[in-house]
């Protein structure tokens, strides 16, 4: 999976969790929480979906890596490249 593929996968997951949010104008460098209304439970749901859909584990100590879209992609790239 490429960086772009991962970005789309993340967008798909967020869409499932918060169907009412507009995700078209997300700035990849800014914190996701500042742009869409996500609480800590929503982040847990993202982690859970990553595990369910792609068998990717995100350790609790790494949750901070999911702050922005770009940091999320950079973090997941080595884990998802081979998918």
């Amino acid at each position: 999976m490429t960086g772009e593929g991962i970005r789309q996968a993340i967008i798909e997951i967020i869409k499932e969790i918060v169907p009412d949010e507009d995700l078209s104008g997300i700035d990849p460098e800014k914190p996701l929480r500042d742009q869409i209304d996500l609480d800590s439970m929503d982040f847990l749901d993202i982690v859970m979906e990553l595990r369910k859909k792609y068998r990717v584990e995100v350790q609790e100590k790494d949750y901070g890596e999911l702050a922005t879209m770009n940091s999320t992609i950079n973090y997941l790239l080595p884990k998802m490249e081979s998918l």
Binding site: P19, D45, V47, M48, Q59, Y63
Partner: protein, 469 residues
């Protein structure tokens, strides 16, 4: 077949937990003894009509849908859009005590204005109560303050207003007698007075259908007519369940929504050693009457009426078969729907004595139901004479069905038909057996929305952390 999780009981909390577990990718089975889902919030058919068992109104309805509110947070966890619930808000409800009525809507300001017009100087106290309720919701459950009456009387200086505030909150969710746990009070205060009432036009059934669909789409399996006779424990941990017909099902984890004492009955090992679990004592008799015209045409303006015939509310197990001194009247037609409901009806709820109704002779059961129903309506009719003519309304009833604690016990399995469960609540659901958790009523989450929140929290608590770690 081995399951990750078996959920005992297909009530609202059990199904909500199931949906969430399906999100977590757990292989989940829900076992329900009855032939229908819903538990305390189920529905039934009588006289050719679809009738709801528990639902008067859904609470926590906030018109503005703030994302931090309980309802919005809950729906998000279940991935249900608010439109899918098809809720319509109430018109206005009434707390009626002798000579004093307070009407309230889904806007707390109406309640404050109406109450402080009657009870001078109480406005500050009423605003403070709202702040305190919001504070408790934000900061989480607390166990250091226990008596709602104590807190209330420190804030509201008119004893009659204290009783009037407690009346709807106790009737809609107090498992205790006389007083109410403060945290429970604050959550109920927010969900009823600050947020408010709504109802789906067709009652509870579409919501149950939606929940079951969501659960099955997520890969969960639901089995009806499958009561659990025994939970099997090996080395202090869950091994599986044995059904009424002897079938054995293996699983790693069990969530039981059967009730705390009811769970101990099928799994004696689960009883916490130092805990004295008392069965709930609060149960109710309820009559549902189909009307030949809208109740509003007969002068019933309110959506729900909470009444009491004296200045002091007596909320405790009834000495008489039915305590006729107080009650709740709900008019499902008086929500602000987009189109009228199919059948106009009116519901009457009173506190009832479980022992009497469990033991009354079969031959007398129907006659006694009618006798006590009429006694209750007499008292309500006199008390509410300034609102509408109840005797005239009774002539417009084309069909009436009454259920009692006996009925509730039979169909929900809750001892004493105690709809709000045991006064002992286990917030984190833990029992003395590893991997056996309580969810639902005896976890302390009441009402349809509460039950769903409880189920979701339990699933998050048991498995969210596992996913994270």
């Amino acid at each position: 077949m081995r399951y990750d999780v078996v959920i005992i009981g297909a009530g609202v909390s059990g199904i909500a937990a199931g949906i969430r577990l399906a999100h977590f990718g757990k292989k989940t089975l829900i076992l329900e003894r009855h032939y229908r889902v819903g538990g305390l919030n189920s529905f039934y058919r009588a006289g050719g009509y679809d009738l709801d068992v528990g639902l008067h109104a859904i609470t926590n309805y906030d018109e503005k849908w703030p994302k931090s509110a309980p309802m919005a947070r809950l729906l998000r966890r279940l991935r249900i859009r608010k439109e899918e619930l098809g809720l319509f808000p109430q018109r206005s409800s009434r707390i009626a005590f002798p000579g004093v009525n307070i009407d309230f809507t889904n806007n707390y300001k109406t309640f404050v204005a109406n109450a402080s017009a009657i009870f001078k100087g109480q406005e500050r106290g009423l605003l403070k109560l709202a702040l305190m309720a919001e504070e408790l919701y934000r900061d989480g459950y607390r166990t250091d303050i226990t008596s709602a009456r104590e807190v209330l009387s420190g804030v509201i200086t008119e004893p009659l207003l204290v009783e009037m505030i407690l009346c709807p909150l106790m009737y809609y969710g107090n498992p205790e007698e006389d007083d109410m746990d403060y945290a429970q009070f604050a959550l109920m205060f927010k969900s009823i007075f600050i947020e408010g009432f709504a109802r789906p036009r067709q009652g509870v059934r579409p919501i149950l259908d939606l929940l079951v669909r969501r659960f099955e789409q997520g890969g969960g399996r639901l089995r009806l007519r499958s009561g659990v006779k025994r939970v099997q424990v090996e080395n202090g941990s869950v091994a599986g369940v044995i059904l009424d017909d002897g079938e054995r099902i293996e699983c790693d984890v069990i969530l039981s929504s059967a009730g705390l004492l009811e769970t101990v009955m099928i799994c004696p090992e689960s009883k916490p050693a130092d805990m004295d679990i008392k069965p709930g004592r609060m149960s109710f008799a309820e009559s549902i009457s189909i009307l030949d015209r809208p109740a509003a045409e007969m002068g019933v303006e309110s959506t729900i009426i909470f009444y009491n015939d004296s200045e002091k509310l007596v909320y405790r197990k009834s000495e008489e078969p039915v305590d006729v001194r107080s009650g709740v009247i709900c008019v499902p037609g008086n929500f602000l729907y987009d189109e009228p409901i199919k059948n106009d009806m009116i519901r009457f709820t009173n506190i009832a004595n479980p022992d009497y109704w469990e033991n009354v002779d079969d031959a007398e059961y129907e006659a006694m139901k009618e006798l006590w129903r009429n006694k209750a309506l007499d008292v309500a009719g006199d008390l509410l004479a300034d609102s509408f003519n109840l005797r005239e309304l009774m002539e417009r009833m084309v069909f009436t069905d009454t259920f009692t604690p006996r009925t509730l016990h039979r169909f929900t399995g809750h001892i004493n038909g105690a709809v709000y469960g045991s006064p002992v609540k286990i917030r984190d659901g833990r029992t003395a057996v590893d991997n056996l958790y309580i969810c639902g009523t005896d976890q302390g989450f009441l009402g349809i929305i509460g039950a769903m929140i409880g189920g979701v929290e339990m699933a998050n608590y048991g498995f969210g952390a596992g996913v994270a770690g």
